[in-house]
């Protein structure tokens, strides 16, 4: 994860994707490997089979709104999502992602200009996104140093174990 820079193919989602769509309550108490088989089940049933580790997610407004279940960012980290870029995030999802070391970036304007299958380059530290397919660049909102530090270390628990 050198420098929190990622390049990969994009999966796109719309507005208000809530945590029940990411990780339905029925599967919430399952271990991540089983829960991940049901990720986005109701809205993108092919996702769990076809998503490859290292790929990226681009979404509209309010991605991850809803419950505080950390299993939502957890399953996305488990399936290997390199980063999630969205117009905006549900607050708790955003915090949880930072806490578990799943890179997230708020990037206004991104969703209208990105199609599923495009290749993106995401630089979390610089808060820059480049669509290599269309050669367009987008400026995101830079994360606070405290959050970047958690992402660099791979999550807030690493900060704890290092004292």
């Amino acid at each position: 994860m050198a420098g929190l820079k990622f390049q990969g193919t994009v999966w796109t989602f719309g507005d208000n994707i809530d945590t029940d769509q990411i990780n339905p309550g029925q599967y919430m108490d399952l271990p991540a490997e089983e829960a991940s088989e049901h990720v986005f089940e109701a809205i993108a049933p092919e996702f769990s089979k076809e998503f490859k580790a290292g790929e990226l997610i681009v979404a509209g407004n309010n991605f991850g709104c809803g419950s505080s279940r950390e299993t939502a960012p957890d399953v996305l980290k488990y399936v290997g999502a390199a980063a999630i870029v969205a117009e905006s995030f549900g607050r708790i999802f955003f915090r949880n992602a930072v806490a578990i070391g799943l890179p997230v970036l708020v990037c206004p304007g991104i969703s209208a200009q990105t199609k599923g299958g495009d290749t993106l380059e995401v630089d979390i530290e610089a808060a820059l996104v480049r669509n290599l397919t269309t050669n367009k660049e987008f400026k995101g909102e830079r994360l606070h140093e405290m959050m970047l530090n958690s992402l660099r270390k791979g999550g807030i628990m690493k900060l704890l174990s290092e004292g």
């Binding site: 029925q26 919430m28 950390e70 708790i92 628990m157």
Partner: protein, 416 residues
């Protein structure tokens, strides 16, 4: 310049004036964990930490999976009990007392001016009593258990001035649904909400809790009401320390402010699959429902059950509709029993369940089959929230839920 409630609380915690937009590391007054404890504890163990920062400031209970529906959950509960004994965590209520947010409020853990975090998104309920309550995930909670502090962005505030007098049978739930429908589910994203004005002042503590509870449904981190004599009265005998009044300064700066006149408000319903998909009940009138759910941390208090009982008294729930009642806590259950509310509901055919989350989040008990429809007094109607992803959940006030259970179809409570 003056301060909002959020700015006041963070300034107190930091012992220096802070402004919206600042990032701070703040000390936590109280941490609440339900079954989320299991994950937080496992995280802590893997980080090599086995003691907590302050056993007196941690509240643990079970509510999401009560009674334990699976062997896995029974084992999880058992593991938590063992840890509680080993760590000396003081406030442990087990599965006995009810839904976390109601219990936190009843037992005096949510106090004006306190910074409270919980492993549950509706921790913002405590704003009804002037506590800065907010939901966090289990990893951040693990950090809190170890360190007793957490980073926050001091939020900007959105003010909702509730003007006028609420018509009879229209409830605080209807106001919140109306706000979500009119302004959208992101209107307070990342922000603190303050509900003020004459309708807020006139509202009971129970009604305020309903609105603060759903503040997160419009994106908010906190959902405050000003604390007043009613708050102090409510907390008397519950809180270990004296409570106080708390309100924003008159010249505080707001990100935005909205006027909401409630005097002509009708009963509202949030249609599938978004809390923002709101219309007057009368426009959904007649839509058949297979299940009606009365209860939860949103609308499972005595006032809520009583409204439903008044509608259902001497009548019978539609034969093809099941009405589940989930009182928010044991205290509510007992009060509802003593006052005859439980009896009235049961005589009308309601199924009275134990105080717990029940089907509210789709975990277990009372789930919906594909194609089924439920009218519910809970706070979320997302796709798949209450069982099948092909089921539909409509959100409404307890009165609307009761009227709809009676007719077996969505019904404006003013008609029955």
């Amino acid at each position: 310049m003056g301060q909002t409630i959020a700015e006041k609380i963070f300034s107190e915690k930091l012992s220096r004036p802070v402004r919206a937009g600042e990032y701070v590391i703040a000390p936590i007054d109280c941490a609440m964990l339900h079954e989320g404890f299991v994950r937080s504890w496992m995280q802590l163990m893997s980080a090599g930490v086995s003691t907590v920062w302050d056993p007196d400031k941690i509240v643990v209970l079970f509510d999401h999976y009560v009674p334990a529906p699976t062997e896995r959950m029974a084992s999880a509960h058992m593991m938590v009990r063992n840890v509680i004994q080993a760590t000396g965590i003081k406030h442990y209520y087990g599965e006995r007392e009810g839904i976390c947010h109601q219990v936190m409020i009843e037992k005096g853990h949510a106090l004006p001016g306190a910074l409270v975090v919980g492993t549950d998104s509706h921790t913002c309920s405590y704003g009804a009593l002037g506590a800065a309550g907010t939901g966090i995930g289990t990893t951040e909670m693990a950090y809190v258990l170890a360190r007793g502090e957490l980073w926050f962005r001091v939020p900007e505030t959105v003010k909702f001035a509730l003007r006028g007098k609420l018509p009879k049978i229209v409830a605080s739930k209807d106001i919140l649904l109306h706000i979500a429908g009119r302004f959208g589910v992101e209107i307070a994203q990342y922000k603190s909400a303050e509900f003020v004005g004459e309708a807020a002042d006139a509202m009971s503590i129970e009604g305020r809790i309903t609105m603060s509870n759903m503040a997160v449904e419009i994106g908010a981190k906190f959902g405050f009401f000003n604390t007043d004599d009613k708050t102090l009265e409510y907390l008397k005998g519950r809180a270990a320390v004296p409570s106080r009044k708390l309100a924003a300064d008159a010249d505080a700066a707001y990100a935005s402010a909205y006027d909401v006149d409630v005097s002509d408000l009708e009963p509202q319903v949030a249609c599938p699959h978004s809390v923002g998909n709101v219309k007057p009940v009368r426009e959904a009138q007649g839509t058949p429902v297979n299940q009606a759910l009365l209860g939860s941390c949103t609308n499972g208090r005595l006032e809520d059950l009583r409204v439903a009982a008044e509608i259902l008294k001497g009548r019978s729930v539609n034969r093809f509709t099941r009405l589940y009642v989930y009182p928010a806590s044991r205290e509510v259950y007992i009060d509802a029993m003593k006052s005859g509310v439980i009896q009235t509901l049961s005589e009308a055919g309601a199924i009275i369940c134990n105080p717990c989350c029940g089907p509210c989040f789709g975990g277990h008990a009372g789930l919906l089959a594909p194609g089924e429809r439920c009218i519910s007094s809970t706070n979320r109607n997302f796709k798949g929230r209450m069982g099948s992803a092909d089921a539909e959940v409509y959100l409404a006030s307890p009165a609307t839920v009761a009227a709809s259970a009676l007719r077996g179809a969505i019904t404006d409570p003013r008609e029955v």
